[in-house]
């Protein structure tokens, strides 16, 4: 078999097969090849034209397995980059067999990793939407994620569904449980709004380990009732006023969802069922997911991660580790030589003896697909905070109440003491005379809220 630009392709191993085609390893393990089945000649030509368009689109650095080359006839398909050490996000959706839920949840990365992987998925989808494209079939089997737990890469595969314009199409191959009601019913084609719906289902399900529409009566009932639930004809399991489809399954919702994430889910699954424009966008999800991840702590006992607002670890009951609370502010200007701050409702937690990376998202409100660290924070046993500058510009540490001011040059670090006495040290991401973001540190004090 050859590509259109006349490269020979040798298929070595079949990696996957599905309704739409097969995926093979090729090119000595560097390439993956998707071979597509098509119903007839006309469908084949349409698909080839769509792939050709897709190959030409500028997708920038988006983590999407785009077609590198098309196969030449009689074959139908394309080559793409081989994703090594990645598994389908589906692996993190539910344990198999008789595994216990909580240990499995932790062993597969826990709450924080799930929030961050979802944040990256939302980010990739937002990148497509920003280019006027929609993905078409966001589902746990179409998102690939790093297999090693200390990596958080995300890649979208199955790009044959990517559409520039939406058109109404059959739903036979849409992944069951992740189609927007209007697409399922054939009323509308796929769109960024249907992507947003599918993403909302994925996000809720990955975090809580229960599908938002599979209440107990749906779970125990016949498949027809599930069809109705997926069509949006039953209330979702956490409906604010209609409790008829509650679920006994999954993790406690308030343990794995911040109030902000719960609000997004309610918008998607109440008003957003019938009214696509009422759904939160994937960009809103990205923001809330990352912000939620910033507020997690890792339990020293069970290694589970959880929101720092809890009095104890929800997974094992042990007291939380010491941590700093870093409130995010914006220095909007100077008045009579004194900085003026605008407060944000964002913060991050800096756990003792754990590296806390701060990305450009926090430091300069920039969208950074890779979430690369611009500074690392390290809070040690002696109550000192070390700031390592990994950025391309200096940052400043400023003492309590505008006290001593210390620049940290590119590639350098600095340490501030005394967190046991006073709080208020600040990390400034820009020079004093320009507006910039600031992290203000204080000790996270535990109220024994019974």
């Amino acid at each position: 078999m050859r590509t259109e630009d006349d490269q020979a392709i040798e298929l070595t191993r079949r990696i996957g097969a599905g309704g739409q085609g097969e995926v093979w390893e090729a090119g000595g393990g560097r390439l993956a090849v998707k071979l597509l089945h098509s119903r007839d000649q006309r469908a084949a030509e349409r698909l080839a034209a769509q792939l050709r368009t897709l190959r030409l689109l500028d997708l920038g650095d988006l983590p999407i397995a785009r077609p590198l080359a098309l196969l030449s006839p009689p074959h139908l398909g394309y080559t793409m980059v081989m994703l090594a050490d990645m598994v389908a996000l589906r692996q993190l959706f539910a344990p198999t067999g008789r595994t216990a839920l909580v240990p499995w949840y932790t062993e597969t990365g826990g709450l924080r990793r799930r929030l961050r992987l979802l944040g990256r998925t939302a980010s990739a989808l937002a990148g497509l939407h920003g280019r006027g494209l929609c993905y078409g079939d966001p589902s746990p089997v179409n998102v690939m994620v790093s297999e090693p737990l200390d990596h958080e890469q995300v890649y979208l595969i199955d790009v044959d569904n990517v559409a520039v314009m939406s058109e109404v199409r059959g739903n036979a191959y849409a992944t069951r449980g992740y189609s927007a009601p209007e697409v399922l019913a054939g009323r509308l084609g796929v769109s960024s709004l249907s992507d947003a719906y599918a993403f909302a289902v994925m996000a809720f399900e990955l975090l809580t380990v229960v599908h938002p529409f599979i209440g107990d009566k749906v779970y125990d009932g016949e498949p027809d009732l599930e069809d109705k639930a997926f069509a949006g004809e039953l209330p979702w399991i956490e409906h604010s006023t209609q409790p008829s489809n509650r679920s006994r399954f999954g993790l406690a919702r308030d343990v794995v969802l911040t109030p902000g994430l719960r609000t997004l889910a309610a918008r998607a699954f109440e008003a957003g069922v019938a009214e696509p424009t009422a759904r939160p966008t994937v960009a809103e999800w990205r923001t809330k997911l990352y912000e939620a991840a910033d507020l997690t702590l890792a339990c020293p006992e069970c290694h589970g991660t959880y929101f720092g607002s809890r009095a104890t670890c929800p997974w094992c009951g042990v007291a939380p580790p010491p941590a700093l609370f870093a409130q995010l502010l914006t220095q909007v200007g100077l008045e009579a030589g004194k900085p003026m701050f605008a407060e944000t409702r964002r913060a991050l937690l800096v756990q003792r003896q754990v590296v806390t990376p701060v990305s450009a998202r926090t430091a300069v409100a920039a969208v950074d697909e890779l979430e690369q660290s611009v500074v690392d924070l390290w809070y040690d046993h002696n109550d000192r905070l070390t700031v390592t500058n990994r950025w391309d510009r200096p940052v400043w540490l400023v003492g309590v109440g505008g006290g001593p001011r210390m620049a940290i040059a590119v590639g350098h670090d600095a340490t501030i003491p005394m967190f046991n006495r006073r709080s208020g040290w600040e990390l400034h991401f820009g020079p004093a005379h320009e507006p910039h973001r600031v992290l203000r540190f204080s000790r996270l004090v535990r109220k024994d809220n019974r």
Binding site: R90, F93, G97, A100, L101, Y219, P223
Partner: protein, 219 residues
């Protein structure tokens, strides 16, 4: 069956999608290596079912054989990943009626096919005319709730399939949209089972299979 944990949090299990194979193991199946090819084909299919990793559905497989003087539950209906394949052996007569009654009994038993299961698929494989009274048994299957709604597929194997034998398979399918599979040469049998595999896995992914989908696989 729910997955539960020490602290009571439970997860939902995928909905079962039952697939019952109804295999002719009469003496004639020993000719031309038919039974060997059938064993390999069914074992391969069940392995493919086990590899299918869907959140919404889990394929369960069971095998009913008919040969000798009666029908036997060769493999009970369990998740495909739990099946430890045991080869079938061919001997004796073709008691299809007994097999159909056994299948009807399994399908109506909620401890075998839970209420929440997807529509079952029943695949009949035979190489000749039944030797017992099968018509009444077939009508009991077709008038039972789950048996009537099941996706029924059938394939005739080998040179001995005559018009009468094909007619039996057609009556079993009882749906003009679905054609009887033909594997006159036994080596065409694996291809038929590949088709069954694709049909079933499509159902478990999308939760439904339309006639259109079936046509898609009939090439």
């Amino acid at each position: 069956m729910d997955g539960s944990t020490s602290d009571q949090a439970m997860f939902q299990r995928p909905r079962p999608l039952p697939v019952l194979i109804l295999a002719d193991v009469s003496g004639s199946m020993a000719n031309d290596g038919k039974i060997d090819v059938l064993n390999r084909s069914v074992a391969t299919m069940i392995r493919a079912f086990a590899d299918e990793d869907s959140l919404r559905g889990e394929i369960w497989a069971g095998v009913v054989t008919f040969g000798g003087s009666d029908a036997t539950l060769h493999h009970p209906l369990v998740p495909a990943s739990d099946v430890r394949w045991d080869d079938m052996r061919a001997s004796g007569r073709t008691p299809l009626g007994a097999a159909l009654d056994l299948v009807t009994g399994l399908l109506v038993d909620e401890s075998v096919v839970p209420r929440r299961a997807f529509r079952p698929t029943v695949v009949l494989v035979s190489d000749g005319v039944p030797t017992d009274e099968w018509r009444a048994a077939l009508s009991r299957l077709l008038t039972s709730d789950k048996g009537g709604r099941a996706l029924r597929l059938a394939v005739g194997v080998g040179q001995d399939m005559d018009a009468e034998a094909f007619d039996v398979l057609e009556q079993f399918i009882a749906n003009p949209q679905v054609k009887v599979g033909r594997a006159e040469d036994v080596h065409e049998l694996p291809r038929y089972f590949d088709w069954v595999t694709a049909t079933v896995t499509t159902q478990v992914r999308s939760g439904r299979v339309t006639n259109d989908d079936l046509l898609d696989f009939m090439n």
